[in-house]
């Protein structure tokens, strides 16, 4: 049984949601593998540099039953998205928005809880600010595959190391990935993920890595 102040706070949030003025910092469901690194929040924008991380960010809200959209992603790997937990029944893609990618993204922010966008050109801070107002109003999050001005968290994947593949034998089986989350000027959070893990699951717990530590070489990887 929750205490009375908690209950009141909870009810206030729900009332606010009904009144269509979602508190912009409301947390959204996040993929468990990224749990210690980044927490998706409504109204914020995120930048990633890898398709897998972008799909993983879509997967969190999608698992929780929200709609997702991807704009300008003509190389959407549907099978990988499903493996990460994206529900394809609630995904819309606009693979080729051309010059109108910003308008399309703004329209889809009304529809989807999380919108992945790969900008066709440079994003001006004014355009980003306009979109951010819309994100806050709709309680949606924006994931940009590429650079985005003034984004909340910048996720980068580095030092991928594949296991299971040799010189002409085996096949790609699992990958160790060093993920770094930079949030403003705060020291970056880092984690080593098995993404995917040996058993083809994508939900392995990450181990935080000290900023200065060196990644140990993984066996079976050249």
């Amino acid at each position: 049984m929750a205490s009375t102040p908690d209950l009141i706070a909870d009810l206030r949030t729900r009332m606010a949601r009904l009144e269509d003025s979602t508190p912009s910092s409301m947390p959204l469901a996040t993929h468990p593998a990224l749990a210690g690194l980044v927490q998706l929040r409504a109204g914020a924008s995120y930048s990633v540099d890898s398709a897998t991380l972008a799909l993983a960010l879509l997967a969190g809200p999608s698992r929780a039953g929200s709609w997702c959209a991807a704009v300008g992603v003509s190389d959407f790997g549907a099978e990988a998205a499903v493996a990460l937990g994206v529900d394809l029944d609630r995904v819309v893609l606009v693979p080729d928005p051309g010059e109108q990618w910003l308008e399309v993204t703004a329209a889809l922010v009304d529809v989807a809880t999380v919108v992945l966008v790969r900008p066709a050109g440079r994003v001006t801070p004014q355009a980003a600010e306009k979109l951010a107002a819309r994100l806050r109003k709709r309680g949606a999050a924006l994931v940009c595959w590429g650079e985005w001005p003034r984004c909340e968290v910048r996720l980068t994947a580095s030092e991928p190391a594949w296991a299971g593949v040799g010189q002409g034998h085996g096949h790609l089986r699992s990958r160790r990935l060093l993920v770094e989350a930079r949030r403003g000027t705060a020291p970056p959070r880092r984690g080593a993920l098995w993404f995917p893990a040996e058993d083809q699951s994508w939900v392995s717990e990450h181990r935080p890595v000290e900023p200065a530590s060196v990644v140990a070489p993984v066996e079976g990887v050249a």
Partner: protein
């Protein structure tokens, strides 16, 4: 007890097939199922084609024989015109199977039963059905046998109370069951009368319910009431424009009422439409030949606004003359026709009490479709295949996926998981080189010649040394056709740790199909 009239159109499957092609009925033709003759017409029979004959035997006797596959839907669809014509003259028609229908014989027709039958035959000739035969008797089985004895466009009438003597004289071949006929003949029974003399219990135990029913009928009992149908309601709607219109927006605006009427007409029957055919007729074209026609599928069901949208998309495509998008419109449009193709009871698609689809999603996506055209917004679906790009399909929003390959099949030659996160819609040209710059190839047995040492996955990228590689997964696609190609897929990891799916294609080109990014 009302008397029964049976209308029989012999060789209906063949007549339906020829009529579909617009060919005259005197050509020898036959309908085949599993390479066995199911039905042939009179011309084929005079040349020696028989039911149950193999296709090659039939064609050796009659090389010019028209061969058609058996399609019961086509037979039923074309027979519908006959049913409607009969219904116009006498309500209460029971369709027995394509080519055979029963109705209650008119009691007080002027000129009696022969005149009524003659009128019916005359009406069918007007429709182009030359060969129809009518039988009239006290009950259904006898009437059908009478129709089979009648001549072309004529009738055979079995007088009231004369059924039993009529049936007793018939040979056992009257029963439409080859196994039963063979068995009865081997038992020495040649007429239905001899069958009727057997004890009822023995017939039932030995021959089963169907022959047992015939036994009862020949004995003067077992008449079954006709299950007549109610005519199906007219659900298609059309709108005519006078003067004809040439602007897609104006037309879409003008069909709004008609679209409402289509949906309301369905709702009155407690139906909703999930597939609709929209046809547009240009000025001066005949009403048999639409200038633009397309079947639209809806993931849920069509509302009036959806119908207007689909028409708008179709007209835009046809006016811009986009290939494969429903025809070519070059002159103003005089008529739009909506035909519901698939309807289902609305209970199947009823909204949940707490809201099924998200109206907001529909509206937002409609806005994007308004900006970029309706095919710009797509939904990804999974399907079976070998290449990563074959294993997914992009379906335009608002359409139902069709023709997907089943994902449950084994698909030998496909790449084991994990799946690549980036799948390129059209592969990039890549380059792979072995030691000393020698080319890497795959021979006809799927063995790799040379070992990849460096590669360039992106067209304008840098050459990278290969850290690890796996493969090949060879696939010969469509080797039995001229467009076939021999490919082999490789997983290649560069020294930077990034993995790519590269494809070698005979005789020696490389492509980047996907990236494990």
């Amino acid at each position: 007890m009302a008397r029964v009239m049976v209308v029989w159109c012999p060789d209906w499957p063949v007549i339906a097939a020829l009529a579909d092609e617009g060919l005259p009925t005197h050509l020898p033709a036959a309908v085949f199922h599993a390479n066995i003759v199911q039905a042939g017409n009179a011309a084929a029979r005079t040349l020696g084609v028989r039911r149950g004959m193999r296709r090659r035997d039939a064609q050796s006797r009659c090389p010019e024989l028209k061969v058609y596959p058996a399609t019961p839907e086509r037979d039923a669809r074309t027979f519908e015109t006959v049913l409607t014509a009969v219904e116009e003259q006498h309500p209460g028609v029971a369709p027995l199977r394509p080519g055979l229908a029963a109705l209650r014989a008119p009691r007080r027709a002027r000129g009696g039963e022969p005149a009524a039958a003659a009128l019916l035959a005359e009406r069918l000739v007007e429709l182009g059905v030359w060969d129809s035969r009518v039988g009239v008797a006290d009950e259904l089985f006898t009437a059908e046998q009478a129709a089979r004895l009648a001549h072309e466009q004529d009738c055979h009438i079995v007088a009231p109370g004369e059924s039993v003597p009529f049936l007793r004289e018939l040979p056992v071949e009257a029963i439409d069951d080859a196994d039963a006929i063979s068995l009865l003949k081997r038992l020495g029974l040649r007429t239905l009368g001899e069958l009727a003399d057997l004890p009822a219990a023995a017939v039932r135990d030995r021959f089963g319910p169907k022959i047992s029913w015939v036994h009862r009928v020949v004995g003067g009992a077992g008449a079954v009431p006709l299950t007549t149908r109610t005519p199906p309601p007219e659900l298609a709607r059309h709108v005519d424009f006078e003067p004809p219109l040439d602007n897609a927006e104006t037309i879409s605006f003008s069909v709004r009422q008609t679209a409402d009427a289509v949906v309301a007409g369905l709702a009155a029957q407690q139906l909703v439409c999930t597939e609709v055919r929209i046809e547009a007729f240009c000025e001066g074209s005949s009403y048999d030949d639409p200038s633009s026609a397309r079947d639209w599928l809806h993931p849920r069901w069509f509302t009036a606004a959806d119908l207007v949208d689909r028409l708008h998309w179709q007209l835009q495509g046809a006016m811009r003359n986009v290939k494969g998008r429903g025809g070519d419109i070059r002159s103003p449009i005089s008529r739009i026709l909506f035909t519901p193709v698939t309807v289902v009871p609305d209970a199947v698609h009823a909204d949940g009490l707490w809201g099924g689809t998200d109206e907001r999603v529909q509206r937002g996506i409609a806005r994007v479709q308004g900006m970029l055209g309706h095919e710009a917004v797509v939904v990804p679906v999974l399907q079976g295949g070998r290449a990563p790009a074959d294993r997914q399909a992009l379906v335009p929003w608002g359409e139902r996926p069709t023709g997907l390959r089943p994902a449950s099949h084994p698909w030998p030659g496909s790449i084991p998981p994990p799946a690549p996160a980036r799948v390129f819609a059209s592969p990039w040209p890549a380059e792979v080189a072995g030691a000393g710059g020698r080319p890497v190839a795959v021979d006809a047995r799927g063995a790799v010649l040379g070992e990849p040492t460096r590669f360039r996955p992106e067209p304008r990228g840098d050459w990278l040394p290969v850290a690890a590689w796996a493969g090949p997964w060879p696939v010969e696609e469509l080797w039995w056709e001229s467009g076939g190609r021999r490919v082999a897929r490789f997983q290649v990891v560069g020294v930077d740790g990034r993995a790519w799916l590269l494809t070698w294609e005979a005789p020696g080109s490389w492509w980047t199909e996907a990236a494990y990014d």
